[in-house]
Amino acid sequence: MKKVLLSVRDLAKHFGGLRAVDGVSFDLHEREILGLLGPNGAGKTVCFNLISGVYTPTAGEIHFAGIRSDGLPPHRMAALGLGRTFQIVKPFSNLTVLDNVIVACGVDRYRSLARSFGGWTGAAVRKKAVELLERVGLADEADRKAGLLPLGHLRRLEIARALAVGYRLILLDESFSGLREEEIAPLMDLVARIRQDGISVLLIEHNMRVAMKLSDRIVVLDHGRKIAEGLPGEVARDPLVIEAYLGRGGSSRVA
């Protein structure tokens, strides 16, 4: 059995009377790609925000990399090697694309105040950042202001930043949406390769082709609860999932 990297137990988040996440449990193993699927409003993004520390849970526990991590602020989670993207992209608009990535390359430098006074304009950091940009196919845009990029490029920038931070786990929130089919393929390769490097991935994706192909296992949420868990093939045949999420299925539109 592979080691568990992230374990979520009875996780809940309520907004007033609304139970956005309501008692969800699952495990994510090392070097695993886990798909987190579910209808719109199922609570997937809220789950991400709970795991990455943006929200504190109403109830439940999260264990990450051997420590109990619920309630830790986002920067502590980042320091533990968790990188993430945002469904609603959040670029540092007035910084260049390259600097956007360089910021993310500094996790270990932000760890202590003294270290954070070192310079960031050095060649080594730059090289690492450019490399990351090349991996996501954004090298040509390195010197443009991030705020001016079209949506598709912003998605890749998000991935590059997540890669720079997450040496253990990366959370991808619909990172493939807004991308052209042809552009999706290389990014799928990229995600597959990250896993080879020993990094786990938690994936929210409505593009079934991507989700089915990439995920080792899939967890399906609906109305804040887990309704299915299993191998991609099993989950796709689960009548509950088809009813709530996939619809008639088989349509080319959902690829």
Partner: protein, 296 residues
């Protein structure tokens, strides 16, 4: 140089130092502050009290002054962790009003009479006044500019930029908002404290009104006019905003109207600041010297 020009230049240098501090808070870290004069005042009062009541010299007092203002900056920076944008602007205005009121109403700070008899700065037994004092202020300004430049090129500076752009995203990149916001506050207020000390020993008496809210407005105007987040912007802003009224001096009653109208026009037509992006200065510069970066 005659004494009048020296006086104006000294005031420009001092206010540049303070404005640079504000630039760290607002320009680099994106925390809008309309209460910077409070920290300017805290520096001035600290230095005045330490030299008049505790009998220290300017030089022995200075490190203490900077430490005190930095510490107060740390404390008063804490609200910025809780509130943002307009809420923060109002909070900082409030801090300015409260600090001014404390200076004015607490007898320890001299109350309505202020503090007088602040000694001149001596340097190897030479009393610094006139030109030498101007040089002293310019030296400190150079130091402050160096610190700013170094800060913008350090990871800490980059962290502040990222926080300014998007806090949630920055935090997810491992940047602690608490630490770096407070860092910017401490750095910015320490610079204000330095400026305050220089001011106190230049004027040689101070009262609460010298650090009232309009002064904060003036400081923010310097930063915005010069170019928020640029290195030289605050200094340029200080030069313009301090010397313009002097130029209009002969206009007597209408000089302040002309001055405000000019400020309005400059902001309206160079909203990114004179040294900011796409500003006239930068465009002219890049036409004259293609390939070279204009100063910022």
């Amino acid at each position: 140089m005659n004494a009048y020009v020296v006086t104006v230049a000294t005031l420009v240098a001092i206010q540049s130092i303070v404005a640079c501090g504000l630039n760290v808070v607002v320009g680099y870290a994106g925390q809008i502050s309309l209460g910077h004069a409070a920290f300017f005042g805290i520096g001035a009062y600290a230095s005045a009290l330490l030299t008049t009541k505790a009998g220290l010299t300017f030089w022995t007092a200075l490190p203490l002054v900077i430490a005190i203002t930095g510490l107060v900056g740390l404390l008063l920076g804490i609200p910025s962790l809780r509130v943002r944008d307009d809420f923060l602007a109002i909070t900082t205005i409030g801090i300015n009003f409260i600090v001014e009121a404390v200076f004015l109403y607490v007898p320890f700070f001299g109350g309505a009479l202020g503090i007088g008899g602040i000694p001149r700065v001596t340097f190897f037994h030479v009393k610094m006044k006139g030109l030498p004092y101007l040089y002293l202020c310019l030296a400190f300004l150079a130091l402050v500019l160096l610190v700013c430049r170094w800060f913008t090129r350090s990871w800490a500076g980059l962290a502040c930029f990222a926080l300014r752009e998007d806090e949630t995203a920055a935090a997810s990149m491992g940047i602690s908002p608490v630490r770096f916001k407070l860092l910017a506050f401490v750095l910015g207020t320490a610079m204000a404290g330095l400026g305050g000390a220089l001011y106190a020993h230049f004027m040689r008496f101070i009262s609460a009104g010298d650090f009232s809210f309009p002064v904060s407005v003036m400081l923010l105007s310097m930063v915005v006019l010069g170019g928020m987040g640029t290195l030289w912007g605050p200094t340029l802003g200080a030069v313009i905003l301090v010397s313009l009224p002097e130029l209009f001096r002969p206009l007597l009653e209408i000089r302040f109207l002309i001055y405000t109208l000019l400020l309005l026009l400059m902001i309206r037509f160079q909203p990114g600041g004179l040294l900011g992006e796409a500003s006239l200065v930068r465009r002219v510069f890049s036409r004259l010297m293609p390939g070279k970066e204009a100063p910022r």
